[in-house]
């Protein structure tokens, strides 16, 4: 039946086309069609008006049909390129049988896997990586506590994601521009942002580069090429693509790097950005921290694909899935990706699988939607710090003494940073009105006068720690 259908479909087509060349009236051809068309369910495949369906590809089909008698090797040109025909009605499965494998170098205990490929790291880099992971964790702990004590209004930790933060930063160059989400302060830390600078932003004092305008953890540093955090999810992704395009046009040896979570991959800006990056051939790294949770929403409520890595192919983007809790794997993946991005002018998608050990933020209590056991398991069994420490120590580059020295040093520094930040006065009131535009327009100058008058009349209604 199928064979008969194929050849008769082909002959219908040929007849229609042959008649179309000589005759302009469609009725002649369609008369032919009605005559030859077999009846059956598959006849609905041909559109009611075969002339309009085929005539714009007439030239191509005529030549290809003439030369290929074997239906199986028939090829047709559509805008976008040649596609082969298939006589089978076959739907591509919604997922591969096997999930995309996850690249790792170290096992759960921090032992290097025997056949693992990775980019070697020097002692200096490895020690700095580990130290910064410890620093990040301690900084998070102490700021979190400060918020609990009422000294900070808000905080969000990166517990469990220290390897993603530090190892990715270590694999980049200082000229690579970063477009963070909000859980990547480790990249700033690696590049030299001091604990004092972090504290200044969290306390919104006059030394905060952001001039006290945003909530804590909304860091930014132009000297460290780290664009200021905005809380809106995934809006930074298309921005990173534009920045990458600029780097390409200026022929810089640098790429743009942008971070986002599993939740962020559902936003429209994710799809917009990946598509643009592929079309514009922009050297940008899309690093997804798939930590299993978007506040209380688990990934099963977020998407039904095999995570985020498979989405890259949909946009024509090379992608990799990595163990986000394996510092060496993260380092290698980002290192390789960066090189490809810059050399080949292409985007790369990296899905780093990890776990959000902490709550979403200080406004969240995650035990309300997940078990304490689950959190504990990830904190212990898959801890990025302990795995990497094992490897660093196995090279003879670290010790218990070094660990305790580091920890006491950081604790001291952190407490001092908080003490100083808390004491430092807030930014001047005029900074409410500056930087809305490059120069304050008249309406803002007027509004400032009005506000100052109101303060003068009722000083008790206004916070006294903002200098006027």
């Amino acid at each position: 039946m199928a064979q008969h259908l194929k050849s008769s479909s082909k002959s219908i087509l040929l007849n229609i086309l042959r008649h179309n060349i000589g005759f302009s009236s469609p009725s002649h051809a369609s008369r032919h069609l009605r005559h030859n068309l077999p009846h059956g369910p598959l006849t609905t495949r041909l559109s009611p008006n075969p002339i309009t369906r085929y005539c714009n590809t007439m030239v191509d089909t005529l030549s290809s049909i003439g030369s290929h008698e074997d239906t199986n090797s028939q090829v047709m040109d559509f805008p976008g390129g040649k596609v082969a025909f298939t006589p089978e009605i076959h739907f591509i499965s919604e997922s591969n049988e096997e999930r995309v494998p996850c690249y790792r170098v170290l096992d759960d205990n921090g032992q290097q896997l025997t056949n693992s490929q990775f980019v070697p790291v020097s002692k200096e880099i490895a020690v700095k990586m580990y130290s910064d992971m410890v620093t990040l964790q301690m900084m998070d702990n102490i700021f979190y506590e400060a918020q609990r004590q009422g000294r900070l209004s808000f905080y969000a930790t990166a517990f469990g994601e220290e390897a993603i933060n530090i190892a990715s930063a270590a694999a980049l160059s200082p000229d690579d521009v970063i477009f963070p989400q909000y859980r990547e302060p480790g990249v700033l830390l690696w590049r030299g942002f001091t604990l004092q600078e972090f504290a200044n932003q969290c306390f919104g004092n006059k030394s905060d580069y952001g001039k006290g305008r945003q909530m804590p953890v909304h860091y930014g540093s132009n000297k460290l090429n780290y664009f200021t955090v905005s809380a809106t999810i995934a809006t930074q992704l298309p921005n990173a693509v534009g920045a990458a395009y600029s780097l390409k046009m200026d022929e810089k040896d640098a790429c743009a790097v942008t971070f986002f979570g599993d939740g962020g991959s559902s936003e429209g800006d994710f799809h917009a950005a990946l598509n643009f990056a592929a079309v514009m051939e922009a050297p940008v790294l899309f690093i997804c921290r798939n930590n299993g949770w978007a506040i209380s929403t688990p990934t099963s409520d977020q998407f039904r694909s095999d995570g985020v890595v498979v989405k890259g192919r949909a946009y024509g983007i090379r992608s990799i899935r990595v163990d986000g809790n394996d510092a060496l794997a993260m380092y290698s993946a980002v290192h390789e990706a960066r090189e490809m991005a810059i050399r080949e002018h292409r985007p790369i998608l990296i899905e780093a699988l990890t776990y959000r050990v902490g709550h979403h933020s200080t406004s969240d209590d995650s035990t309300r939607y997940r078990s304490a056991d689950e959190i504990e398991w990830w904190n212990k069994a898959r801890n990025p710090l302990s795995r990497f420490r094992t490897w660093v120590e196995s090279n003879g580059w670290w010790s218990d003494e070094a660990e305790s020295d580091l920890r006491s040093k950081i604790k001291k520094e952190m407490l001092e940073a908080i003490r100083v930040a808390e004491k430092t006065e807030k930014p001047n009131l005029n900074h409410m009105f500056s930087d809305v535009y490059d120069v304050p327009p008249l309406n803002l100058r007027e509004q400032e006068l009005l506000v100052r008058q109101a303060i003068k009349s009722h000083p008790q209604d206004y916070p006294s720690d903002v200098p006027l």
Binding site: T235, N239, D435
Partner: protein, 371 residues
Amino acid sequence: MASLLGRFCRKLVVPGSAHGSRMTSTTACGSETVKSLNLYSAINQALHIALETDPRSYVFGEDVGFGGVFRCTTGLAERFGKNRVFNTPLCEQGIVGFGIGLAAMGNRAVVEIQFADYIYPAFDQIVNEAAKFRYRSGNQFNCGGLTIRAPYGAVGHGGHYHSQSPEAFFCHVPGIKVVIPRSPREAKGLLLSSIRDPNPVVFFEPKWLYRQAVEEVPEHDYMIPLSQAEVIREGSDITLVGWGAQLTVMEQACLDAEKEGISCELIDLKTLLPWDKETVEASVKKTGRLLISHEAPITGGFGAEISATILERCFLKLEAPVSRVCGLDTPFPLVFEPFYMPTKNKASSSSSLSSPSKNTHFLIHGFSRLL
């Protein structure tokens, strides 16, 4: 019907270009050669100049490569190359987001949104990224090099999705500027100013004027300042404020009113955000009456902002309530467009006032015949 014909079938005399009215457009240098251009050609010229004078400037958007659906980008790709002038995928949030990123790296990104009706997917990027980029970073970063161009407004047959005037949404966003030119000469100068302004600008182009409006446009590189309104017609009895294509309608109304002995002062706002309150205030203090007109629906339209501000500043000088003659509170209709539009014969709702003196009564009655 006459008004309908007048609107759509005549080549327009550009407001402010005749009758010896005061023209204050600045020109960059002394002698100027001018050329008769329509709006899209003037915009095109501005874009050519912008790309020529800054090698780190880019023009992109949907269909921009072949010249654009309104021909505003004709010749740019051929002259400056496909790396600087290019098509983008069909995705407004991507177009603007990408533009912000380019601008954040110190480039000038002149982005085209094909119709203002389609700008909304980019609204998040505009409000939450572009408008706050400098402020939130403490001036460490900015995306001032971003200019978003979009055709807006009625075109005679556009219906819901090819006729919108969304300027009011953007005027409510501190951190961006909103600019709307009334004519080819104005458009070129204002667009160059917008592109070079160190703040992100949304530039709405009255699509109806793309071909309809023809004006002598200087060929050289010149800029018209932002946030400076222009009195394009002096008068003493009433102040009229508008922008974009609506000014041509308002000028016709002024001519009609003149025949009745009513002297109208017509102001082109040009920049809606931040807007030049001082010029409007000075005018209303002189005339005592204000009428605002825009195509966008009346409720929540930008006319409300102007009205409220002028009431605050000029209350004791006002001889009548501020009047707004605007589009209706409906989606922009197709068949009903002539009824929807604030044409010159439209009755002003403010005509139902009581006023003691004969003079003012006549004037208010005149309003109802004016617009």
